[in-house]
Each structure stands twice: as C-alpha cells, then as structure tokens.
C-alpha cells in the first residue's frame, strides 16, 4: 500500500500536544469543535491520531514560506 503521508505533496500532519492545543485555543478564543475538521479515516493522518485530537498541518506556501492550519479529528 502506498503511504500517502510520505508523498511530497502531502504536508506534514502531527498530533498537537494538549498544552500546545490550549495555547492555540486561547489564541483564537475558540473551542476545539470550532476548528476546521478532518476525518479520522483521512489517509494523511498520523497513525496515533484519535477521535477528538487536534492535528497541526504545516504546509509550504508560495507567499509566506509556511502556513499552519489546525484541524479537529471527527469520525
């Protein structure tokens, strides 16, 4: 099977640690459920991602070098 997370076009997905998550939620003044969603079955997710986790996605950007996005794992 092809592991899509290794593909050069798939940006890096990591599970966000609880403390870091708190900071993010604090920064944007939101609940985790207000974040954009990602399906648990998404092939790009790291193996240890579970329902209710928040994933940090760092992708290369033409204009800002790197852009960071957070997503909430849903079923």
């Amino acid at each position: 099977m092809v592991d899509v997370s290794q593909h050069e076009l798939v940006p890096e997905h990591t599970v966000l640690e609880e403390e870091a998550l708190e900071e993010v939620l604090e920064e944007y003044d939101i609940d985790r459920t207000d974040l954009p969603k990602i399906k648990r079955t998404d092939a790009a997710l790291p193996d240890d991602a579970e329902l209710g986790d928040v994933i940090k996605i760092v992708r290369d950007s033409r204009t800002t070098d790197q852009s960071v996005v957070y997503r909430y794992v849903v079923e």
């Binding site: 459920t33 974040l35 954009p36 950007s61 996005v69 849903v74």
Partner: protein, 975 residues
C-alpha cells in the same frame, strides 16, 4: 416625536405555540363569518372586528388606542370544533407516530439506546452538524421494534396519505379464512403436497377436532395463537391488511403522553414545544393589518385572500358544531371534519401536492400564508433581502470623455428629485436659504424642510420665498443633488465589487447618465442602450465610507488578479499608438493642443529644431509630460519592442495596450502601486484625453477599401485555396483506396478529418499572410490589431483573405441531410466545399451555401454564450449562498457567523492581492517610494528624522481637492 428608535434584538426563539398562548394573545374570539353589516360597519367578533387593528386612517384601534400606521394590529382566534393537523408538521407527526408506542406513547428505544442518541445529539450540536441525521437514525432504530420495550404492546406500521391522513396498518384474520384453510387441506398433487385431513390438522395444531370443524365451516374465528398454528401447519397466510384511520384527536391524545425526556432525543425542546401542539385546537386569526380589505372604484369592498379563507374556515367550523350537536351520523361528521382540515390546510399552504388548491371565484388560486413567504417574490427574497429603495434613479448611459473617471453626469431632472439632507448651521444658513428660495423646480433647489420641532414641510413654488426667510440653524433642508455630491453607481449583473462604485455628481442637461469611457471595463458597460442605477446616500457615515472606500479611483486594482482593471480602451489605445509608434514630431501649437485637456500648461524644452528652424516636440515628449518625474520602468511592450522609461521620460517603445490598457497595463499598474490611486487616476484621465486629442490630430477612420487587396494578391489567394482543395482531394482519394495510414489512437475516418482540417486551416493562414503582405502598417485595421485596441489579425484575414472552415462542435459541418450536409451535394461527398469551408472573404462576399454554413457555425457561438451566462449566473448564486457569511476578523482569521474558523489567516498569507506586486519581474520598489516621499516632505535631515514613521496617508476627499493637493497648495479647512 414618533417612537422610531431602533431596538436591539436580544434573542429569537423558535418553537411551537401552545393553544393557551393563542388564546392569551388574542384580542377577540371570532365567531361570525360575516365582515361588515349593511351600514358598512365591521361586525363585532367578526373577521373585521375593530379590536384586530385599524387600517382606515383616522380611526382609533379599539385594543391599543393607536392610529393606523402605528398600530401593528392584534391577533384574534377561532376555537376549532375539532382538532386538525397543521400541514407544516406532517412529516414530524409521521415520524413521532412511527417512533413512539401506540399504547404508552414512550419512545420505542431502550434506555441505553436513548442515552446513546442523546449523546450523539449533543455532539452534533457542538460540531454544528445537521441534527436531522441523528433524529432520523433514532426513528429508524425505533421503527425496528415490534413491541414496546416498556409496556410490551405490539406496534403497527403507520401509513401516511398525503397531506394530512394517517393510518395504522394491522394484520388481521381474513374473512375468507375457512375457504383458504380448506383449499390448503386439499393439497396439490402436481406440487407434491399431500392432502391433510381435519384429524391431522387437529393433531398438528393441538386444536380440538370439533373446533377445527367449526373453523372449517366458518362458524368460529380462530384466535391469534390458533391462526398462527394453522398457518404454520399448512404453510399459508390467513391475514389481510386492515387500515385503521387515526383521527387528529387520537393523534393528539397519543402525543400528549409522550414523556419530555423522549422528546429531547428527537431534537425537540420540550419546554418550548410539545408535540401535541402540532395538532391545532385553536386557530390564530391574523390581524386586519396583515389582510387589509380594499375599496374598489365602484365603492365595493374587496377582501384579502386570507380573509376569504378564514370565512370558509368559520363557516365549516360552525356547520360542524351544529351537526354534532344535532347528533348527525358519524359519516357526516367525518366528512365535515375532513372539509375543516382542508380549509385549515389551504389557509396555511395552498400549493400542497395531492390537494386541489383553493380558488377564488374567478378561478385564480388563493395566495395564502405560505405563498406570501415562499419564492423569489416572497417575503424573504422579495421584500426583505430585495427591497425597493427610495433615492435611486435609473436611466440610459452615454459616454462623456470630458468627465473624470471619478465623476458621473447626472441629468438635472434626476438631481431635482434626489435629495441630500442638509443640517443647517450658522455657517451654511446662507446656502440653505438660497436652495429653499430656488424652490423645487429650480436647480439647485430644495424639496422639503424640517423644522426643529420635527414638522416636515414641502417646499412649493408658492411658499419657497417665505420659507427661505424662516430657515435658521437647527433646521434640516432636503436640497437637490449638486456638483461634488457623492453617489453610488451600479450596473447589473453585479458580478464583482467593481460593479458598484462611488462617483462624484456633475449635474448636466438632458436625460442620460454620463460616464467616462475608462470605467466601462469594471462595469462591463457599453452604450448600445445599457441602463445603470444610481443611489443617493442619505447619511454622513455612508457618504464618508463611499468616498474613502468605493470611489472609482480606489477600485483601480482588481482583487481578482491584483492589477489595474481601469485603463485606456479602444480609441485611447489607437491614439497612444499613433502618438508614440513612429515618434512623430509636433510644432508648438500642435503639442500644446494635444496637452490641452491635461494639467500641463507649459511645454518642456523642445527636442530639436526642424529644417525650417521651428522647434519641435516628439510624441515621446508629449506623453512623458504625463508620467511622474521619477518613474523608471523597463519591459517588453505590446508591439514586441522594449519599452524604457527613465526618470519619467519615455525613451524607447510604443505605448499601447500592455502599457496603458485595462486589465494590467504595466504603466498604469506601476503608477497605482507606487504613486497611489490619486496619481493613477490623474494619469489615466490624462492619457485618455491626450489619446483623444492625438487620434483627432492624425484622423482615424476605416472603410471597405482598407480591407480590399489588389487583384494580383487575390489571384495568389485563389491559388492557395485551389492548392488546398487539391490536397484535400488527394487525401480523400487515398482514403477511398485504403492507402491512408491512421494516426496513433485515431480511426481512419478521424485521421482523414484531422488531416483535411489541418490543410484547410493552413490554407486560410496562407491566404491571411498573403493579404497581410499587402496591408501597410498605417492601415487602420492593422493599427487597431497591433496596438490591441480592437480586433485581431485573424479578423483581418477573414475580411481580406478567406473566412475559412466553419465548425460545429469542433468538427467540420456534418449535419443536415442523410450522408450529406445539403441537397446540393452528392451523398458522402467529403470535399472541403461540402463540409463548410468558406473560400471567400467577407469583402468578396459569401456564396449562398457558404453563408448557410457560416450561419450554422455562428448559431453555435450564440447558443454557447446564452448557455454560459445562465450556467455561470447560477454558479455565482450558489457560491454566494455558500460564502456570504464568511468574514475576515480583526485577528486575521476568516470565520463564519457561528465563529467557526474557515482559514487561520486570510488566503493563508493574510495578504490582499491588490497590495502586492503582480509578478516577480515587477517588484514594487518600497525603498524608492519611501525615499521619494521623505525627500519631498522635508527640507532638512533633522526635520525628517523627527517625523519619520508617523505620517498617515491623507484621505483624498474630492476630485477638486485632490487636484489642489497635487499642485502643491494645501487646502485650507473651514475651521
């Protein structure tokens, strides 16, 4: 003073209304179907009861004491003789009937399942998903249960006959049971089923033999257990479906017993809405203000559709009660009940499928409650999102090159109608008096004044002089539009934000709106009869926002591609091309004339002296006068040559489309980004006026002779086309002899078609090239094509050379008759001529057959555009519906109205496309801008250091103020 203060909405709550609440808010019970008595007075407790509000001016409302206009009206109520179903909730009623127990009304889910669904519901709420998915799943689960998990009662299927009838479907013993049993006992020899004797049957089913005989004779109906035993023994079905109609009253009783905690699982808040309230026992009667009656010219009163419907309801309601009290048979009662249900149903929705719509006497279907809300002309889309507004005007547009692009010419008759509110102070009282004394007919005049006590007076020809004397500080004057007022201007379809821009008013005679031609691209306007809308702004905040954000010059750069959308077009470009292409020379008079409509009133030093000793200026010199003094640019231009601007002097190149045109003209783009919108506006305005002067100086016209070529060239073209025809014949011959080799991935037929198309398009290109050779560079059509002003070399080829192959769906024309395109050709003729190749040019004229093929190809183009516009319009509507609530917040995130994050940073980089350079080759030189600004601001180094970094950009207030600013003179403020 009127109480018109806007109020904040604290919260909205949606739910069902309790019958008791209907009664409480009711001003009166309605019992008679009549509206007015013989003297024309409303009948008490009738549908026009004065307690329901007032519609006639001058009368006082009996409930609240207010007059018409300020009284919103009051609801009444009708006590329904029997409960009826509310059509709006039929689906929910069906769901509840299917999901709850027929005996104890509990939800048919075990406690565990119930809790599970409740948790899912809260989760869904948090993620703002569709709650219906969960509640539907819950009902589906509940329907699977045959028996109630609490009381053990058997559950039956619920059938829903649209719109408002529900049946319970039960399996009961068929009336033909004895025959069926006897038949089955006979057995079937062919199928190998043996005969069964009554003895055997009695044994197998453990029913006494006498009972079996009684059952067989039909004198005893087997009990359920016996029935099942017999069915099992004989392998037959003894049941039939029996439907049991559920009356609204039954459903109401059923729903009353549903426990609150079960309702919650279905997503209903039991504190606000109980399911039994979906069955109406009381009908609210809308206030008369919601269904006003009108008096016709002949004095007859005509009632609103809702009133007609209410009359029907009350009549049936009364008949129902009378019949019931008189002890009428059940059948009649049920008929009346159904009739009542029909009237209440159509009162709320008259477009229910399966029910004939209630009609007016004339046969027109009645417009009842739901018809008032639904659809394009309904309350939401028609009256709330799409209101008609005051202070707006619409008329035909026409061009006026003397206006600035920031301005709009407004007809005087429009200016006299649309007013601006002027708050009179001591400083403007003289102006205000002048306006009022001019009256409503003179311009600039005034239409209304408002005294400090709030009283509004109309200014008339008669009273204007006296009124003018009374005007003092504290009054308000609604004066006519005058030059310099800001208005909003719009052309539909409003596809992007540049479709609505703010302009400054210039009042003009005649009847059309006038605009500068450079604003045609953003509006996508032309002058073949286009109309546009204008809106006069009514408060200072709106005017200020329009001026700062919406003025045309602020919209020079399109957010779609980050380059200028406003620039020189058509003749402007031809003019600039003529002015700069061969760098012609002008004497002093000519040069001054070219620059007449610009700010330039002094010529630079001449470029040189001609043979007669007269000084001359070149086209470059003239154009360079419009450029900022320190502009430096170098790029490849429209014509393919290098364009070089150094220190504001054009040194090399031709100015045409890619230099100053719409949609990314390099010089306009750079000036906008480096020198600001005001400078760019001045530049574009001046380029367009200079170009008009230039094109008038040289003269520019086009005629049929400009597309005609000498006979010798025509002969060469004919030759090329004959050659091509020969090649095609060769190809066809090869094909018919099976000598043609197919291209990879194509069939032989496709290969032939492709090759024919290729040789024919080559023939057209060759014909075009021959024609081109005979055109001079100063041919107006060539000038337009080369400069990018209008048309292309292809158009020229078609006019002078050959029109070429006509195509439908990308292929040669193949349709028409069987095996041929027209009856003029042999069947299966593959020649160029028979499939739509047009040898002639537009100037030489098309043959009838060519003309027909040309029309076929042209038709496709028209159909395409028609289809595309409707498709893209619908796509646009869907995109807008999906995206309209997204908003960039102050923290840079993009969120929707429920604060869910859509993007963490606008566009992932937080950058506006109009604030960045359009490509790598054209960086915005920030340092240059900074030093330029600083150098011009300060005389000494110290002064500059003192100030660095604190100066805000000035707001450009008005067309004329800007001019004064750029001239270097500061505008002194009034105070």
């Amino acid at each position: 003073m009127q109480d018109t203060t806007p109020k904040d909405i604290g919260s909205l709550s949606f739910g069902l209304m309790e019958p008791e609440e209907y009664r409480e808010m009711s001003a009166t019970k309605i019992i008679t179907a009549d509206t007015y008595d013989d003297d024309g007075f409303p009948i008490d407790m009738g549908l026009m009861d004065p307690r329901l509000g007032v519609i006639d001016p001058g009368l006082e409302c009996k409930t609240c004491g207010k007059h018409s206009g300020s009284c919103n009206g009051h609801f009444g109520h009708i006590e329904l003789a029997a409960p009826v179903i509310h059509v709006g909730f039929t689906k929910l009623i069906r769901r509840l009937l299917r999901g709850t127990c027929r005996e104890c009304s509990k939800l048919l889910l075990t406690e565990d399942e119930r809790d599970e669904f409740r948790d899912q519901l809260t989760e869904s709420r948090k993620l703002s998903r569709d709650l219906n998915d969960v509640t539907k799943a819950a009902i589906r689960q509940a329907r699977k249960k045959d028996r109630c998990p609490f009381c053990g009662e058997i559950q039956y299927d619920i059938d829903h006959e649209k719109p408002t009838t529900y049946y319970e479907v039960q399996q009961v013993l068929t009336s033909e049971y004895s025959q069926r049993i006897a038949g089955a006992m006979q057995g079937d020899e062919e199928e190998g089923v043996e005969r069964t004797t009554p003895d055997e049957l009695a044994e197998q089913t453990e029913i006494e033999l006498t009972r079996v005989n009684e059952i067989l004779s039909g004198s005893f109906r087997p009990r359920e257990s016996q029935r099942k035993a017999i069915e099992k023994a004989l392998d037959i079905d003894l049941t039939e479906e029996d439907t049991n109609k559920l009356m609204p009253s039954d459903i109401r009783d059923w729903f009353e017993n549903i426990p609150d905690e079960d309702i919650e699982v279905l997503g209903i808040n039991p504190e606000r809405s109980r399911p039994e309230w979906m069955i109406l026992t009381v009908l609210p009667v809308p206030p008369v203000t919601a269904r006003p009656s009108i008096t016709l010219d002949n004095g007859q009163r005509s009632e609103d559709d809702l009133t007609h419907k209410l009359v029907d309801i009350i009549r049936i309601n009364q008949r129902f009660m009378e019949n019931r009290e008189a002890g009428a048979p059940q059948l009649i009662i049920e008929d009346l009940w159904e009739l009542l249900q029909y009237h209440v149903t159509t009162f709320m929705d008259n477009e229910i499928s399966g029910t004939p719509p209630a009609r007016h006497r004339s046969g027109r279907p009645l417009k009842t409650l739901s018809q008032r809300l639904k659809g394009k002309e309904g309350r939401f889309r028609g009256s709330l999102s799409g209101k008609r507004v005051n202070f707006s005007a619409r008329t035909v547009i026409s061009p006026d090159p003397t206006l600035s692009m920031n301005e709009v010419g407004v007809p005087d008759r429009v200016a006299k109608e649309m007013t601006q509110t002027m708050n009179v102070t001591e400083r403007n009282v003289a102006d205000a008096r002048r306006f009022v004394s001019n009256g409503p007919e003179g311009h600039p005049g005034a239409n209304y004044v408002r005294r400090p006590d709030g009283r509004r007076l109309k200014v008339t020809e008669k009273n204007c002089e006296q009124l003018a004397e009374k005007i003092e500080a504290g009054w308000e004057v609604n004066r006519h539009l005058i030059d310099g007022d800001i208005v909003i201007f719009n052309r539909q379809p409003s596809l992007h934000r540049m479709s609505i821009m703010a302009h400054e008013v210039v009042v003009m005679p005649y009847k059309t709106f006038r605009l500068n031609t450079v604003v045609c691209p953003p509006y996508n306007a032309d002058f073949d009869g286009d109309e546009m809308n204008m809106h006069a702004l009514q408060n200072e905040e709106a005017r200020a926002e329009a001026r700062v954000l919406m003025r045309v010059q602020e919209q020079m750069l399109s957010p779609r591609f980050g380059e200028n959308i406003i620039g020189a077009i058509q003749d402007h470009i031809s003019g600039m091309y003529l002015l700069t292409h061969d760098n012609p020379r002008f004497n002093e008079t000519q040069a001054l004339d070219l620059l007449r409509a610009t700010r330039i009133d002094e010529l630079p030093d001449p470029s040189g002296v001609d043979d007669e000793g007269e000084p001359f200026w070149t086209g470059y010199d003239v154009f360079s006068e419009l450029l900022p003094d320190d502009l430096n640019l170098e790029f490849t231009g429209t014509v393919g040559d290098e364009v070089v601007v150094e220190d504001g002097q054009l040194l090399k190149g031709t100015i045409a489309e890619d230099e100053v045109g719409e949609f990314g003209g390099e010089i306009v783009d750079t000036i906008t980004k480096v020198y600001g919108n005001t400078r760019a506006r001045i530049f574009v305005n001046e380029v367009s006026t200079l170009a008009m002067r230039a094109i008038m100086h040289f003269g520019f016209s086009i005629g049929i002779d400009d597309e005609t070529i000498p006979g010798e060239a025509q002969a060469r073209i004919d030759e090329t086309i004959a050659d091509a025809n020969d090649r095609v014949e060769e190809l066809i011959e090869a094909y018919e002899n099976n000598e043609l080799e197919s291209l990879p991935g194509r069939t032989i037929d496709e290969t032939l078609e492709m090759k024919i198309m290729q040789s024919l398009s080559r023939a057209r290109d060759n014909a075009g090239n021959i024609a081109d050779e005979h055109f001079q560079d100063d041919n107006p059509a060539v000038v337009m094509a080369n400069s990018g002003a209008r048309g292309s070399m292809l158009n020229l080829t078609q006019m002078a050379g050959a029109v070429g192959q006509q195509a439908v769906r990308g292929e040669r024309i193949n349709r028409g008759y069987e095996d041929r395109t027209l009856s003029h050709y042999e069947p299966n003729d593959l020649s160029a001529e028979a499939h739509g190749f047009v040898e002639n040019s537009y100037t030489s004229g098309l043959t009838p057959r060519e003309f027909f093929f040309h029309a076929m190809g042209g038709r496709e183009g028209l159909v395409d555009t028609a289809v595309r516009t409707s498709k893209s319009g619908y796509l646009q509507r869907r995109l807008i519906n999906a995206l309209h609530e997204l908003e960039t917040q102050y923290d840079g995130t993009v969120r929707d109205s429920s604060d869910t994050i859509i993007q963490f940073e606008f566009g992932e980089d937080g950058t506006s496309p109009v604030k960045v350079s359009s490509d790598d080759d054209n960086d915005i030189d920030v340092d240059q801008i900074a030093s330029r600004v600083l150098d011009s601001e300060f005389d000494s180094e110290t002064e500059r250091d003192e100030f660095l970094g604190t100066r805000p950009e000035p707001t450009n207030l008005s067309e004329h103020a800007d001019d004064r600013l750029t001239d270097g003179t500061e505008v002194s403020s009034d105070d």
